[in-house]
């Protein structure tokens, strides 16, 4: 598999995951780092993820889309004012 194929597949996985999470009512930007996927949720989504059943569903969806680990990240102030740092980020 070429790097481009891998990139295409990752983009497809990220898009499918974003769609699945959205169907669960979870709104977040998503960034893939290999098998780790970072979710950057809004405030309401953070609260929803405190529920174990929701968290489990989100993790299952991440796994279905090829990720072994999912983690949530709150954007820090510096990155918020410098969005160019998020070149690989696919935002909803």
């Amino acid at each position: 598999m070429t790097p481009r194929d891998r990139g295409d597949r990752t983009a497809r996985n990220v898009a499918a995951l974003a769609e699945g999470l959205s169907a669960l009512g979870l709104t977040c930007a998503i960034e893939a780092r290999g098998k780790l996927v970072l979710l950057m949720p809004d405030t309401a989504t953070v609260a929803k993820l405190a529920d174990e059943a929701v968290r489990r569903a989100a993790l299952a969806m991440a796994k279905e889309n090829g990720f072994t680990h999912a983690a949530i990240e709150l954007p820090n102030d510096r990155r918020r004012v410098n969005p160019g740092a998020d070149a690989t980020l696919l935002r909803d």
């Binding site: 970072l38 609260a47 993790l59 999912a70 983690a71 949530i72 709150l74």
Partner: protein, 284 residues
């Protein structure tokens, strides 16, 4: 903590194992123990002190950059509280390029450094038996450090006599050891993925981040996994939900960025042993 979870030993069989350990120690008379202050080596050192007396045991701590200061303090406290003679030596596994390159058998190089320094010191002092705290559960796990222990003829009486981790926690509780409910505490290098170099700077960053998180009141299992600019924080699954609010996540983020990470993420599944192996597809 539910110490009965996964418990293999019934009280009667634990008594039998403790009797066997007493016999094992008595047959050797003078035992030097590689002592980290973790659950297993603390139990072995205190039991040895109880059976053999102060002249019969020497607990040796190998201090290095990968050994957390918090654990060193806990080890010293156990030794003081239970009157276990202690010797501290400096070890420097980071100066070994084979270790610093962080291969999947990194622990072999660390333990080689530890035992090669510890063994002659122990023998000079008349301690002909070297022992470590390896337990029976460890035998089913991938532990390249065991090879180094074998090369230096280090005995593992707890494993040999069938003590599981749950047995050791129960026996430790009976002896009044504070470590009975202490989370497992592997070295700081275990937070860095295999193949990513282990450096003093990275170990320091991880240690500071974990200390900052502890200061927020995070208890139980906790790991800061190193992903270059990103720290991935694993919390004990039982406590995870209580940290999933924007305000508390910001506390976590601020604590970890103070330690020098640019980005901080909290793992949605929580702590799992060997998490980085899963992520990087490492199989033993």
């Amino acid at each position: 903590m539910d110490i009965t979870a996964g418990m293999a030993g019934e009280p009667a069989s634990l008594d039998a194992r403790r009797a066997a350990l007493s016999a094992w120690l008595s047959a050797r008379a003078r035992v030097a123990i590689g002592f980290s202050g973790g659950v297993d080596s603390a139990y072995l050192a205190v039991e040895a002190r109880r059976i053999l007396g102060a002249d019969g045991v020497l607990a040796i701590i190998g201090r290095s950059a990968s050994y957390p200061a918090e654990q060193w303090a806990a080890a010293r406290k156990v030794a003081t509280d239970f009157d276990v003679p202690v010797l501290e030596i400096d070890t420097d596994e980071l100066s070994d390029p084979s270790y610093a390159a962080n291969p999947s058998d990194r622990c072999y190089f660390c333990k080689s450094e530890l035992w090669s320094k510890l063994a002659p010191i122990a023998r000079e002092r008349g301690f002909t038996t070297l022992a470590d705290g390896t337990n029976a559960d460890d035998l089913t796990d991938y532990r390249p450090g065991a090879r180094a222990a074998g090369e230096h003829r280090v005995a593992s009486p707890l494993a040999e006599l069938g003590f599981t981790k749950a047995d050791i926690r129960l026996a430790s509780r009976e002896l009044g050891l504070p470590t009975w409910q202490q989370p497992s505490s592997p070295c700081l290098s275990s937070r860095i993925p295999y193949g990513t170099a282990v450096t003093r700077e990275r170990l320091g960053q991880i240690e500071r981040a974990e200390a900052e998180l502890r200061s927020l009141g995070i208890a139980g299992d906790l790991r800061v996994r190193y992903h270059d600019d990103l720290a991935r924080v694993e919390l004990a699954p039982a406590t995870l939900a209580s940290w999933l609010s924007t305000e508390r996540l910001m506390d976590i983020r601020n604590a970890v960025t103070r330690a020098g990470f640019e980005r901080v993420a909290v793992d949605l599944r929580g702590f799992r042993s060997g998490s980085l192996n899963v992520l990087h597809g490492v199989t033993a």
